[in-house]
């Protein structure tokens, strides 16, 4: 038997008032696995990964992270969130703090790490994303690509077991995208478990173990990237890929 899955979602349903954003989602992600989620705008990709660390509460079904059940409004959600790093489309760095402080606040406040240890850890990850010279600057002083790499380092500083990415490159200028994808690929090679919402097909081909295609709040198709991109089984996926390539 394989080791117990890191993220285990079953029968997940989510409504915004009476609008069904997610319906009967089941998805299991094993340790070290890389899953790319794609699908048309409004299909519920963001909602799905935001349920995993409870930025959105779900109404039905179950979500387990590292064996722990995640429930809306639960006590001790911070303990689960430290296992789940998240990278947003719009970076969401804290603009009033230096890059270094952006990285250390999580480890210090959540993990109770000492200041010096947190700094050392932060510098290590800033090196990894090749941005350590900027440690004392403020986020608005960096380019979009640099900010996103800082955001990745900030998430990594919590030493999470799984990383969630919500369209990490779609707010970036084209020349910035490669640097961010490179960092993500390195991370993947190092064995991080990753769930990535993205339309970067090249990245998906190189990194993903599985592509999950969503439409209208449901998982329509799950397949290895080669199979999915060259021979999608469902009509909805064909339509979506056609539109994606037409761009």
């Amino acid at each position: 038997m394989t080791p117990s899955p890191l993220v285990e979602i079953s029968g997940l349903c989510k409504w915004y008032d009476d609008f069904s954003a997610l319906y009967d989602i089941s998805l299991t992600v094993a340790e070290g696995e890389k899953v790319v989620i794609c699908g048309p705008s409004g299909s519920g990709k963001s909602t799905l990964i935001r349920c995993i660390n409870q930025l959105e509460g779900h109404q039905q079904g179950s979500i387990r992270v590292a064996g722990q059940e995640v429930r809306p409004g639960m006590k001790g959600i911070e303990a689960i969130r430290r296992e789940v790093g998240m990278v947003f489309q719009s970076f969401n760095l804290f603009p009033h703090m230096t890059i270094l402080d952006n990285l250390t606040i999580g480890p210090i406040r959540n993990r109770g790490m000492g200041r010096a240890a947190a700094r050392a850890l932060a510098m290590e990850y800033l090196n990894k994303v090749r941005i350590s010279e900027q440690a004392d600057k403020y986020p608005p002083q960096l380019s979009g690509g640099q900010q996103q790499r800082v955001a990745i380092a900030r998430a990594l500083c919590m030493q999470p077991r799984v990383m969630l990415f919500d369209e990490p490159t779609s707010a970036l200028d084209p020349e910035m995208i490669a640097g961010v994808l490179e960092v993500m690929e390195t991370l993947a090679r190092d064995g991080m478990t990753m769930i990535v919402v993205t339309h970067e097909m090249g990245f998906a081909r190189r990194v993903a173990d599985r592509v999950v295609f969503m439409d209208e709040g449901e998982i329509v198709e799950t397949a290895p990237p080669e199979a999915f991109f060259s021979a999608p089984r469902t009509n909805r996926a064909k339509l979506f890929l056609g539109q994606l390539l037409a761009h």
């Binding site: 660390n53 930025l55 969130r81 760095l93 804290f94 009033h96 606040i105 999580g106 959540n110 998430a155």
Partner: protein, 278 residues
């Protein structure tokens, strides 16, 4: 017809600045003239009443020297009490305002209703009636003296305005900041303490200064429950000395100095806050 373009783009044409400072000078002159006329009218009015100014008698209102020891006079003692009341009420108002703002933004139905009831009750009844309610009804129940009754009443009143100011400040912060704070695993307290509140400071500081200034001014109302703050001391002095004009001019002047120096201090603080970033 089009005018010729200025010769230097980075410098306004000659005479432009001079013309503008002439404008400023004229404005100042206008203001001075208006004040001079007003002052003259007041002076004539008072003269016509044959008011007898006794400015030489006001020094003991501030202090007296007895055997080389300085005894503070009623106005100084009143001023100190006013500062104490306003500072405590202001601080308490900010706490109440913050909690009310959080309750209004929260998912809890009970919290939202409670906050709304508090806000409507405070806004739609006269401050004087609120003071009597706190002093005659609430104070005996919870066992507080007139000082704390005054502070509490002011804090509840100003707190309702602080709530709206702080709510605006909290809503002015991008949703992504809340989510990023959650995602790095900060507790609710840490999220507000390190991420949200520091960022809303520049938004709430100017209106909160206005609020603290109102608190100082509104603190005069506690004179009706005979708390010996500045206005009460003014009333007492007038009834003892009949020097109404001198006393009320001085009292108003003290309030003015207090509020103006407060806004000056906050302006300095804002400069300090804005300096290092970006």
């Amino acid at each position: 017809m089009t005018k010729a373009l200025a010769v230097h783009r980075d410098r306004p044409p000659v005479g432009f600045n001079a013309w503008r400072s002439a404008g400023v000078a004229w404005q100042i002159t206008q203001a001075l003239l208006v004040f001079a006329v007003l002052g003259w009218l007041v002076w004539r009015g008072i003269d016509a009443m044959e008011y007898r100014w006794q400015w030489y008698r006001v020094e003991p209102f501030f202090y007296r020297e007895i055997d080389g020891e300085i005894i503070w006079g009623p106005l100084v003692r009143g001023l100190i009490l006013t500062i104490q009341i306003a500072a405590l009420a202001g601080a308490l108002a900010i706490v109440i305002g913050f909690l009310t703002a959080l309750a209004r933004l929260s998912g809890s139905f009970a919290g939202r209703v409670l906050a709304k009831v508090y806000l409507e009750a405070i806004r739609n009844t006269p401050l004087l009636v609120q003071l009597f309610l706190v002093y005659f009804v609430l104070a005996p129940i919870i066992g507080i003296d007139r000082f704390w009754a005054g502070v509490l009443c002011l804090a509840l009143y100003e707190g309702s305005f602080a709530a709206e100011i702080i709510r605006g400040g909290l809503r002015g912060i991008d949703r992504g900041q809340y989510e990023a704070a959650d995602a790095v695993g900060l507790s609710t307290w840490d999220k507000y303490r390190y991420i949200i509140v520091p960022q809303s400071m520049p938004l709430v500081l100017p209106p909160l200064t206005g609020l603290l200034i109102s608190t100082i001014k509104h603190s005069a109302i506690v004179s009706v429950i005979a708390l010996a703050e500045l206005t009460t001391q003014g009333l007492n002095l007038v009834s003892n000395t009949f020097m109404a004009f001198e006393v009320w001019f001085i009292v108003a002047g003290i309030y003015l100095v207090l509020t103006v120096s407060l806004s000056f201090a906050v302006t300095l603080f804002e400069h300090y806050l804005n300096k290092p970033k970006r």
